[in-house]
Subunit: 335 residues, 4 copies
C-alpha cells in the first residue's frame, strides 16, 4: 500500500498516518517529494484496507500495491496446470475441443451431435441440463433427465461430459453423471456455489462474469482453490459492452493476461461471445491464435429447431471445417 499525501499536508498529518501504520503492526516508509509526501507500507501479511487512511487529514490517495490472490499465481506454482479427465487433458499439448448442443433436448439430438463431436476427435462433450434463462418463461432444460442422457453419451462415445451446475444440488447431480462442473457467467460470484465446487473431486470450468474484471475472475478461481480443488479451468466468454453487433464482446487479451499471472488453463467459449452463427468460426480461430488452451462451441444437428440459442449453433459440417482450421492454427503457434 502507498499513501499519497496532499501537497499542503501538515507534518502532523504525516505523523498521524505513520502512527496508524505502526499501530497496525506494519512498517512505514516516508518519501518526501518536491510537492507532496508519499508513505509506503510494508510488513503486512494480507491486504491493507485503504479505507483506514483515505479519510484521514492530509491524505490524497491510498494505492494498493500487492494483489489479493495467491493460489492461482505463477509465484506459487510456476508450472502450468494441466487438468486431467481420464486420458483427456486441458492445458497440455493438445487443443481441447468441448463441443455439443446448448441444451440437451432429447436422446436423439444428443446422440446425433455427439457422434459428430466424437468423430472430429474432440474429447469433451458439452450440453446443458439446467439452463440459466433470463426469463422464467423460457425452456429451463431437461434437468436430471438431461444428465442421464449425457451419461449415456459418455458410455457410448467415450466423451467427457462438461455441464453446468446452477446450485449446490446441481453440483451433486453433475458429480453423479458428469466429468467437469461448469459454473456459468451469472454465477461467477455465487460464492456458496464456488465453495461447494471447491469441495468436489471433479474439475471446475469457471466462466468469466459478464462484467468481471480479471482480478474478480481470478479471485473466483481462488475461492474454488481455497477449498482444496486445484483443478480449475478459466473460460472467457465475452463481456458486456455498448457494442450491439455481438451478444458479448470477446476479450481475447484476457488469454495472455491470465497467462502472465496464473498457471491455470484458459479456454474460449466462441459461441456465447458471438451469439451469431457466422461469427463463431472467426472468433474460435482468433481464440486459438491468441493462445487459448481450448474452445467451447455449440453444435446442433438441426440448428433451426434448437430450443436454446439456435442462432449461434454451428451445423455439423461447419463444425468439422472449423476444427481443421483451429488445429492448423494451433500448429502454427506451437512452433
Amino acid at each position: 500500500m502507498l499513501i499519497v499525501m496532499k501537497p499542503g499536508a501538515a507534518e502532523q498529518d504525516v505523523a498521524a498516518v505513520v502512527k496508524v501504520i505502526e499501530q497496525l503492526g506494519y512498517r512505514p516508509h516516508i518519501m518526501p517529494g518536491a510537492t507532496r509526501t508519499a508513505i509506503g507500507i510494508t510488513g503486512n501479511q494480507s491486504a491493507v484496507d485503504p479505507a483506514r487512511f483515505e479519510n484521514m487529514a492530509g491524505v490524497a490517495e491510498a494505492i494498493r500495491v500487492s494483489k489479493p490472490y495467491k493460489l492461482i499465481t505463477l509465484d506459487l506454482r510456476p508450472d502450468k496446470t494441466v487438468v486431467k479427465v481420464g486420458d483427456a487433458t486441458i492445458g497440455g499439448d493438445e487443443l481441447a475441443i468441448i463441443g455439443g448442443p446448448c441444451a440437451i433436448e432429447s436422446r436423439e439430438q444428443a446422440f446425433a451431435v455427439a457422434e459428430t463431436v466424437s468423430r472430429s476427435g474432440a474429447r469433451f462433450f458439452r450440453g446443458g441440463a439446467f439452463k440459466p434463462r433470463s426469463s422464467p418463461y423460457e425452456f429451463p432444460g431437461l434437468g436430471e433427465e438431461g444428465l442421464k442422457i449425457m451419461a449415456e453419451v459418455r458410455e457410448q462415445f467415450g466423451l467427457k461430459i462438461v455441464t453446468e451446475a446452477l446450485d449446490v444440488v446441481g453440483v451433486e447431480l453433475v458429480e453423479q453423471y458428469g466429468d467437469i462442473i461448469q459454473i456459468g457467467a451469472r454465477n461467477m460470484q455465487n460464492f456458496s456455489l464456488l465453495r461447494r465446487a471447491g469441495k468436489s473431486k471433479l474439475p471446475v470450468l469457471l466462466k468469466r462474469g459478464m462484467a468481471a474484471t480479471l482480478d474478480e475472475w481470478l479471485l473466483a478461481a481462488e475461492y474454488v482453490m481455497s477449498e482444496g480443488n486445484y483443478q480449475v479451468i478459466l473460460c472467457e466468454r465475452g463481456v458486456r459492452t455498448f457494442a450491439l453487433h455481438t451478444r458479448n464482446t470477446l476479450d481475447l487479451a484476457a488469454v495472455p493476461a491470465v497467462r502472465r499471472i496464473s498457471h491455470l488453463p484458459v479456454v474460449i467459449d466462441a459461441s456465447h461471445a458471438a451469439g451469431k452463427n457466422y461469427m463463431v468460426a472467426p472468433l474460435a480461430r482468433a481464440g486459438v491464435a491468441a493462445g487459448a488452451d481450448g474452445i467451447l462451441v455449440e453444435v446442433h444437428n438441426d440448428p433451426k429447431t434448437a430450443l436454446c440459442d439456435a442462432a449461434q449453433a454451428l451445423t455439423l459440417d461447419e463444425y468439422d471445417e472449423m476444427l481443421r482450421e483451429l488445429r492448423a492454427i494451433r500448429e502454427v503457434i506451437a512452433h
Copy 2:
C-alpha cells in the same frame, strides 16, 4: 416479431418464412417495401425465437417487438405496489430510509448505529450478516450471530430488518430473524435463489446486477413474482462502466424508466454506487430528486474502524444532515 428480408430476397424466400410462421401457428403479415420486404408476426402467446428465422435464406434480421415480462407491468396492474412491513411502507407516500452499517460487526456497533437510524425517523435498518466478498480472504460477516443481533435491534428500536441472503439456507435464516430479504447484485441472476425467495412470505429487495439491462432486472423480479411473491422492491446500485472515479456508475434514468413500465417501487443504494464517503449525500439527493421511493445508505458509528466498505460509510452526523436534505427534496417533487 418482425422479419426483415434482404433487398434481393427471392419470392420463394419470403414464402418459406411465411410457411414457418404458419407452421408455428402464428399469423404472417407481409409488407412489401421499395427495397425490401418485411413480415410481421402476430398471434403468438409467448416470445417467438428469432433464431428460427435468422439463418433462413433471404432473411436480413428478426426483430423482437413484444416484451418478455408480464407480472411486473403496469399493463397488468396499473396501481403502484406499496410494500408493507408492519406499519412501515416502501412505495407509498413516505420516503423509505434504509440505514445501517455495511456489516454487523458487534452488538455494540449495531446498537450505536441503530440508535441514530431510529432517532432520524427511518423505519428500516440494514446490515450484512452474510457478506459476498470478492476474495475468500476477506471478512465474510458474522453469519447467524449477526442476524440475532439484528433481531435484537428490531426488538429494541422497532426498526424493520433488511439483510442479504446469499443462498437458499440464507433465505431461511432471514425468514427467521429479518423482515426483508435482500438479493445482491452478484446474485441477480441466481435463479435458484430467486425462485426460493419467490416462495417466501417476506418482501424481496432485488438489487440490479452490475451489468444488467433494464429488461434482465425486471425479468429477475418476474422470477420472484412468478413463484407467488408479489412484494418486490427494485434497488438501483450503479452499474459497471469504464469510469474510475466511482465504484459503480449510478444509473438514475432507471428510476423513470422502471416507472414507465412497472408498478414496483424503486430504491437507490447511494453508498455502493459512490464507493466514497463524500459522494454519498450528493447521489442520495439525486436519487430522491429523480423520483426514487427510498434510499439505502451505509452509516457507521466509527467509519475508520469498519471491517467492510469503510470508505463509503457516513458518520452519524453526516447521515443526519443528509436526511434533512432528502426529505426537503422529496417535498419539492411531491407537489
Copy 3:
C-alpha cells in the same frame, strides 16, 4: 511513480531500476518488503513515463502517483471559478439555465422558444447552427444563417447565446455571433479545436466525451486553459454504456468528483443524457440535487415537428414546470 518489483527480483534488477531513475535526474526511494521491494520516485517535474520501467527485468508494475493536470486544480486555485457573460454567471450563486431547441430551424421557431426561455428567468439560450450528425444524410443545421437568428434572439431577449463550434472556422463564427463556445462530446479530444478555443475571448462549454474518463475530460479543459482561456465550463451529458433504456448513462457522480479536484463549474445536459422526453425532468432535478451549477435543456415550441432530437425536447409547459422544481431543489441544497 512507484516501481513494484516481482517477489523474486534479483538485487541487480533493483540496482538497474535505481540507476535509470538517477539517470533521469530523479530520486529513488527503496522500500524492501517481506515478499517484494518497491521503489518510489520523487523529484520529477512532469509525469514519469511508466514504460521506461515496465519492461525491465524484475519489474512487476509501475504505478502513477501524481496527476497530469495543473491549471484545473484546486491546488492551483482554491476558489471556484465563476464564469461571467455580461451580467449572467455560471458557477456562482444562481442556478444557470441554458434552454433552447436542439437545432435552430427558423426565426419563428427560435423566437417562440426564446420567449418562453426568457420569461422563465433563464439567462442563456442554446441552439445548434452546426449540428454533428452521425449520418451524412441528416439535417446538419442552418449554419451561419442559424447563428444570425440567434444573434437576433440575443438582441431581442437579452439572452446569452451558447452554441457549438465543430471546427476552427466554426469558432470564428461563434465569436462573431455568440457568447459561449460549446465543444461537443465528439470533439472533446479534437485538440486543434481545443487549442483554438483556448485562444478565444469567449468562455468555453466543454462537454464530456462519450467514453471519457474524468482525467481525460479535465485534461481537455487543461488544453483550453493552457492557451490562456480560463473561462471553461464542464458539461456532463452522459456516457456510453451497455444500458439501452437511455441514450447515454448520466454519470452524476462526476459532479462531486470534479468538485473535489477542480475549481471549474459543472453543468448537466439532461436532454442528451435522457434521449427521451419523460426522463428529462427527473434527470435535471437529479443533476441540481447532485450539486450541478446549471442545466442544459432542450425545449421546443412543437416537439413533434422538430428536425433534430425531437424525442427528447420538452414542451414549453413541461419546461416551465421543471424550472420551478429545479429552483426549489437548489434552494434546499444551498442551505
Copy 4:
C-alpha cells in the same frame, strides 16, 4: 420503421398514427395482434425519424428497420474493395503489414525501424508526426519535420507512408508527404475532418472511435465516401470497457460483422488495443485468424527510450517472429 402500439391503444390512436404516416408520404401497414397492434411503414426514401411517433398517444415504441448507410454496403457493391497504393494493396490476397514507431522521433530512429519493416516484406510504414495526446504537456510529435523524414523513408525503402492527420491542415501535409491518411479514434466523428479527407485523392485509414458502435463507424466511412473518396480502410483498435488489463478491449467480432455488411477492408491495430508489449503478438495473431486484411503494429529499435507508448512497442526481433506467425495463420484461413 415499425410502430408498436400499447396494449390498450384506442382505435383513434391507431388512426392518428396512420394519418401522420400518410402525411409524410409513406405507406402504412396495419397489423392487429392478439394484445397489441403494430403498424409498418414503407415507401420512405431515407430514414424515418422515430421521434415523430414516440410521443403520440397509444404508441409504445418506434423501431428502426432499415439502416442509414448506403455506399459502404455490399448491397451497393458486392465485390470487396481492394485499396491500392502503387503496387501495394490492402484488402486483396496479401496480408497488409503496416509497421513502424508510434511517433517519428528522429531520422536515425525512423530509418532503423524502417529497415526492419522493409526487410520483413511489409509494404507500409506507419509513424506519427502529429500525435493526439491526452495531456497538453506530452510530446506532440515532430510535425512537418516528421513528415519529411517519412518521405525520405519512402524514397529509401519504397515503403508506403501511413500517417495521421489531426485537422484540415494536417490532411494537406499528409497529401504532400504521405500515401494514406490516418484518421484517429478520437477524430472518428470529427465531421469536418472526414469531409476534407473525403475530398482527398489519398486512401483513408479510419480508426474506430473508443465508444463507437458498428453503425457509427460505418457512417463515419460513409461521410468520407459521400464526398467521393471510395478508398477507405476500416481499422479496429479496441473499444473502451471496464476491463483494466488492457488499454482497450479489442473487438474482433467487428471483423466478421463488417464483412457481412460492407465491402471495405478491415485492419487491426494490435498495439493500441494491447497497450502492453507482451499482448501485441497474441492479439495480432487473433486479428489475422479472425479474418482481418492487415495489421498495424508499433515497432521500435529501442523501446525503452521511446517518447510515446513505449510499453506497447515490439522490438525488431519480436516483430520478425510475429510476422512469421501471422503469415502462416493467413495461409491457414485462406484455404
